[in-house]
């Protein structure tokens, strides 16, 4: 019920208190679903070769653009490759790039932002202005430019994405550390005589990780979509590597052979949804205000 609704009359009836199951579902339902989706995809990525009888890159021109059937569950593409198998293998690249970009970007950004907030003065100024500078480009466009300059390839695209990825973490970490710095428990640590490194790593950082974890979780999905987008534009992976974004690109004009482009896109949707569910859940757990209801 909303905060601005007035209950019609006195509610004399005793309201039902949520059952355990209802409470669990409300608090953990979506995050649990998100975890499940993400876990399934991780298992798929690891066991991909075991799950499919086909080779993802085996070209069979006689068998091209076959609709879904018993032999090829999700049909074949323009080169006669099995779409299902390529989907399974595609999860490897998506998950790897998603995690690598976000984790490396988060570590690097957090470190820089934390140092900036703790060092103050010229160092802070320099780091934060650099952050502003990168943030004054729309991320995908800058990544596109850098990736284009570096040349096609998974590693190059990851590097390009990292360049645009770290600043938001730097900004968040900077503001988090600044907030924590003025908290009384940090003053208590100063009063105890602890050195700056101990205060930063033992007191401030453990109390700043919450929002960072939320951002990391939500952001993996984001990174996966961005990488797929760059691949769709032909920058992400070198053919014939199986990758969801480039698979959609390959099938983008095959409206009649809808299975070629539909399924890889759907895979992206599910995995990004999974990370979003998970991230929302993590945010609710870490936000005491959301806990209250």
């Amino acid at each position: 019920m909303s905060a601005v609704t007035d209950a019609p009359v006195t509610q004399r009836a005793v309201a039902p208190v949520a059952t355990r199951a209802q409470r669990w579902r409300r608090r953990y339902g979506l995050p649990a679903m998100g975890t499940l989706i993400v876990l399934i995809w991780i298992v798929v990525a690891i066991t991909a070769p075991l799950l499919s009888p086909h080779d993802p890159n085996m070209v069979d021109v006689t068998n091209r653009l076959k609709p879904p059937s018993g032999a090829h569950w999700l049909g074949t593409d323009a080169l006669g490759r099995d779409v299902f198998t390529r989907l399974l293998f595609g999860s490897r690249i998506s998950l790897t790039t998603g995690f690598v970009v976000v984790i490396v970007g988060a570590l690097f950004g957090t470190l820089l932002g934390g140092i900036a907030a703790f060092a103050r003065g010229k160092i802070e100024e320099a780091i934060m202005r650099l952050t502003d500078l990168v943030l004054c480009f729309p991320p995908i466009i800058l990544a596109l430019a850098i990736a284009a300059a570096l040349g096609i390839g998974t590693t190059n695209t990851i590097i390009a994405m990292l360049v645009v990825w770290w600043p938001k973490f730097a900004r968040l970490a900077h503001s988090m550390v600044l907030t924590q710095r003025s908290q009384e428990y940090v003053e208590a640590a100063i009063v105890a005589g602890f050195g700056p490194a101990r205060i930063l790593f033992r007191h401030i950082i453990p109390n700043s990780v919450g929002p960072l974890i939320v951002l990391v979780t939500l952001d993996v999905g984001n990174a996966i979509i961005t990488f797929a987008g760059l691949s769709f534009l032909g920058l992400g992976v070198v053919p014939p590597t199986a990758e969801w974004g480039s698979m959609v690109a390959e099938g983008r004009e095959l409206v009649a052979q809808w299975w070629v482009a539909t399924f890889p896109g759907f895979c992206i949707l599910t995995i990004v949804l999974g990370f979003n569910f998970l991230g929302d859940g993590v945010r609710d757990w870490l936000d005491p205000k959301a806990m209250k209801r």
Binding site: D6, V17, Y185, V191
Partner: protein, 705 residues
Amino acid sequence: MNMTFKAELNGAAPDTDTPALKVENLRTQFFTDDGIVTAVDGVSFTVAQGEALGIVGESGSGKSVTALSLMRLLDEPARITAGEVHFQGKDVLAMNPEELRAVRGDRMAMVFQDPMTSLNPVLKIAKQLVETMVVHGRFTPEQAGKRAVGLLGRMGVTAPERAVESYPHQFSGGMRQRVMLALGMSNEPALLIADEPTTALDVTIQAQILDLIRELNRDFGTSVVLISHDLGVIARVCRRTIVMYGGEVVEEGLTEDLLADPRHPYTWALINAVPRIDEVRPSDRRLTTIEGQPPDPFDLPKGCRFAPRCPFRIEKCDSHPDLAEVAPGRKSRCWVTQAGTPLPKKQRHAKAEAEAKAKTEAKTEAKAATPRVIAGRDEAPLLSLRDVVKHFPLPKTGYFQPRRAVHAVDNVDLDVFRGETVGLVGESGCGKSTLARVVMRIHQPDSGEVVFAGQDIARSSQKQIRPLRRRLQMVFQDPYGSLNPRMTVGDMIAEPLRFHGITKTNAETQERVADLLNTVGLNPRVGRRYSYEFSGGQRQRISIARALAVEPDFIVADEPISALDVNIQAQIINLMLDLQEKYGLTYLFIAHDLAVVRHISDRVVVLYLGKVMEIAPADQLFDRPLHPYTRYLLSAVPIPDAVVERERGYLKLDGEPPSSIEPPSGCRFRTRCPLAKEICASVPPPLVEHAPGHVAACHFAGQLQ
């Protein structure tokens, strides 16, 4: 137009025999996921036409929920599950939403605790006032616009014509509360509910707001329900008072009777837990406290809800008492007083007696030179501040703007001697917390000396100060913010022990942590738990244990009790007194509660806008203040005694403290001082000794009548 409305109101008013508000058996419950909490349990009371009723209780007693229930302003999961609230002949609880809306803000208005968040930050004051008047159809927008200016003027807002065109952030807390009162009074309601309206304000501003509420009650005949945890506030405004505990009314009566002769042990405990500013400090400074914590709302005691903490409990208290008459016009929910047993009277020294006593005793006391009185000052002070300045630069507003700064602390001189307690008082923004942080070298002073144990630490690096940290510790204000939420209590106390090499082995550390927890009155087993599992009072004990870990001899306590309920305050004060006795500690005690400061301090320092106004031995300062500001400050403190409150006249300090970004020239208090002459604007008054140990910074010290 105004007149006709008034006439209409008067005509519509019911005869004076029916009460303005009649609450019967009100029950409000919170249907949380963890179970049902009955926050208000069968509360009944009446408010007569034009009467001011006070509701007192500590946090969790249900007093604020009661207030919100009266207007049905509670949100899910709170629900009013039983009772009736008769207002002007109609049951508010049975009204449909449209009827309810018509009552709210019209005949029944409410003022909330926090003026800083109660006004909408993006709307002009004018709009917020006008919409209330227009929505109830009493005024056209033009009339309402004019009336808004008039109301603000009536509430003491300076330059009301300009004020209505401003946004809330341009006002101080006191001014915003005036706007909130104007809002409440805009439709001339029959009943004004004020929920802790002055808790967030400074004491001189509190006095102004309470005066205003009293005037509204007297001049407009508006009935008032005033909710407060502060008995002094209630005593100043309310004719009758009810006391709440554990969601129930436990005592009801005329305010003066109730305060003079409490008939419920809880009221008794509340009254005795607070020191009084008009009392000379007794030789034993320990306060009367009751054991334990307020009841767990999920698991209320079956019998009397106060019984587990009650020092007078009898066997019968295992069954639940009713609220019954114990004397004419007095009701109490207590088996003991219902049976006619009186509660012990605490020896109180009335002010006149006290003064006489103080005079006769002054000499003997000084000569006896009890350890409490620092007589000869031959020894070097433990802490000595000279000319300490700390300004905080503000971010520039533009490239070509001069850099401005908050003048937090300006040229402060202060000595603290071994073994004494120095109280540091002043209103918010006076620089007392900054001064504490300069002493602790959390902040580095811009200039001046901070000499601790003979060593000037004003310019020292953190590394150089480190050895001194073992002697110099701090207890913080916020029981929630001052403990690291990601560390266990044990780790928090053990960390400095290990860091300074005080304990060598793990077993030794654990033993010492257990000792410390014992010392502050906590079970050593709590060391394994995290701070969020504790109440405010327990957290403050943990904070004290952490400070004690390094065996300091000097502790700066920055408002250590201001976030706590009175009984818990008394417990912490007693703990600090015990520790002082046991370890010979020296305290620099910062507080805004003057009565507490008088009670525990040997000497008191008064700060105003970053400058020292007056320093004197505690009783001398409170009985014979020399600086006009001190006089005003002391006079503003409400005394929990209705008779005293009714009879005493007090000095009214108008206006608000000026900005600490551009403080006044010369004497900083001159802009509000009735004695101010030209010299005050040009020459900053030096601190001059007027009596032994009594210094004041005023050109006309002691001349205010």
